[in-house]
């Protein structure tokens, strides 16, 4: 166990070091411009010349400016501690009802994610049950389910929102539908595989009891599919979050993690963009972790993997 912790921390440290190393060349030009305005001697001394000079030459010639690259107000690439500080300031230090609180925006996105995930999971399970029991559905639904995932969601999302708006549906529902659109697919694929996982012997055994399809489903297929379901749910919940964020982009939504990303990019607030990104990543990790926890508990109770 300590060995694992050490290796994980080593990787994290390496990534952070790489990030800090990248910050200097990314931000050096802006840092030198500010330094020049502040009256310091910069080589070369004209912004025109500096534009055509490589970042690494600028760094070697103006090493005094390196510390400044880590603390700019609007850096091209914010340093890790800036992102962390922004995350801290917009979560712990803000009232969660504030429009500037990342928790507030996170909750807006999370509620759409969870609703979409519930719709997508329910739909996915229903489709899988149909596909497993009906050859017609297998041949007719499965290809469309696959095709649906080849369309870039970023192209489809505005259309969904516009169409729903025209019939008077707005708010959380359109976002949830985009979420569901992304999350039903892994559930369909996983559940089809799971419901088909009992081998010929298991099916023959039930046949010797003259069991019908309904009994076979409840007594054998469904319990046997649970491990597959959880694998799908973990992919599905992450896809749901992506769907909810993408659903916030084309509407010019004013709240939600997607809105934070969009506003950040409009106003060049890179620190805000990065902190929203990390907020989304932390949220996704938390959701996947929760499902993983439920998976371990339930599968252990069901006697799988022991």
């Amino acid at each position: 166990m300590p060995r694992t912790v050490v290796s994980v921390l080593t990787v994290v440290a390496a990534l952070i070091a790489l990030w800090y190393a990248a910050v200097v060349p990314m931000n050096i030009k802006e840092a030198l411009t500010s330094a020049e305005r502040a009256g310091q001697v910069v080589t070369p001394d004209s912004a025109m010349l500096r534009r055509d000079t490589g970042a690494f030459t600028l760094i070697t010639n103006n090493s005094f400016a390196i510390p400044a690259t880590f603390n700019q107000a609007r850096p091209r690439l914010p340093a890790p501690h800036q992102v962390l500080a922004e995350l801290w300031n917009t979560t712990v230090m803000k009232n969660i009802t504030s429009k500037r609180s990342l928790v507030y925006h996170g909750w807006i996105t999370l509620s759409a994610t969870l609703l979409g995930f519930a719709i997508g999971t329910g739909l996915g399970i229903l489709l899988a049950v149909g596909i497993v029991h009906s050859r017609v559905m297998d041949m007719s639904v499965m290809p469309w389910a696959i095709v649906s995932q080849t369309i870039p969601i970023i192209a489809l999302a505005p259309m969904i929102i516009v169409v729903l708006y025209s019939i008077g549906i707005q708010g959380i529902i359109p976002k949830a539908i985009i979420s569901a659109y992304l999350s039903f697919f892994p559930v369909v694929v996983g559940m089809v595989k799971g419901l088909r996982s009992p081998d010929a012997m298991q099916l023959d055994l039930l046949k010797t009891y003259s069991a019908g399809q309904v009994q076979t489903f409840w007594k054998l297929r469904l319990p046997a599919s649970i491990p597959y379901l959880f694998t799908s749910l973990k992919i599905g919940i992450a896809a749901s979050l992506v769907g909810a964020i993408v659903g916030e982009l084309p509407t010019g939504a004013v709240s939600g993690l997607g809105a934070r990303l969009l506003a950040g990019s409009y106003y060049g607030q890179t620190v805000q963009i990065w902190s929203a990104l990390f907020g989304a990543a932390i949220l996704a990790a938390g959701l996947v972790g929760l499902i993983g926890l439920a998976e371990r508990k339930l599968l252990k109770r069901m006697g799988f993997g022991t």
Partner: protein, 261 residues
Amino acid sequence: MNDAAQDIVIRSENLDLTFQTGDGPVHALKDITLDIHRGEFVSFIGPSGCGKTTFLRVIAALEQPTGGSITVNGMTPDEARRNRAYGYVFQAAGLYPWRTIAGNIKLPLEVMGYSRAEQDEKVRKVLELVDLEGFGKKYPWQLSGGMQQRASIARALAFDADILLMDEPFGALDEIVRDHLNEQLLHLWARTNKTIGFVTHSIPEAVYLSTKIVVMSPRPGRIADVIDNSLPRKRPLDIRDSPEFLAIAHRVREGLREGHS
């Protein structure tokens, strides 16, 4: 109908089964004519591909014959199945990991719609039959392979079928466990007086257990020899060293060799 005819549980006449495969027809069973009487313990022995498992599956209506006729308790195999004529034991125990041992034994009872009280009563009875009293609340992974197979036999016995069909049930177990289970199976057979059809690869197992040994040979799957086992019904394990035992085993071996050439 005379007494002898009523005594026949399984009657197969000129039974054929041909599988249509991509490489042409495969004659899994050819001209199988065999009567199995009530209370008999019949072993089917032969090399892979001789159709012994296929024949058992035809009795259980898991395969449909392409020629000849077969009756189980005087009915078609399909009707016999609906009348709960047989319990089937597969090579693997195939217990559901999410059910306890008692829960697994209840599976056929739930499917067949027995009441809760009947279920509990029958579970208790068959657990005692296979010497697994006190293991009802355990999960399959908590039991050894031999105990799991015993639980699967209990599951097949749970609904009081007269016929027990067993497809190499001890094939995956080691020899010591196998000997023990063979002894227990004879015991169980003596107590319940079931008719048993038993598929095996092992000559000593077939001779030790059966009243009748059906030697089969492959391509096409057919009966090479039917040997009535003259050993007494009560058989301690060391009967396997007796001259009578060895003589029957020798005849089985001869039958297998002829079928192979």
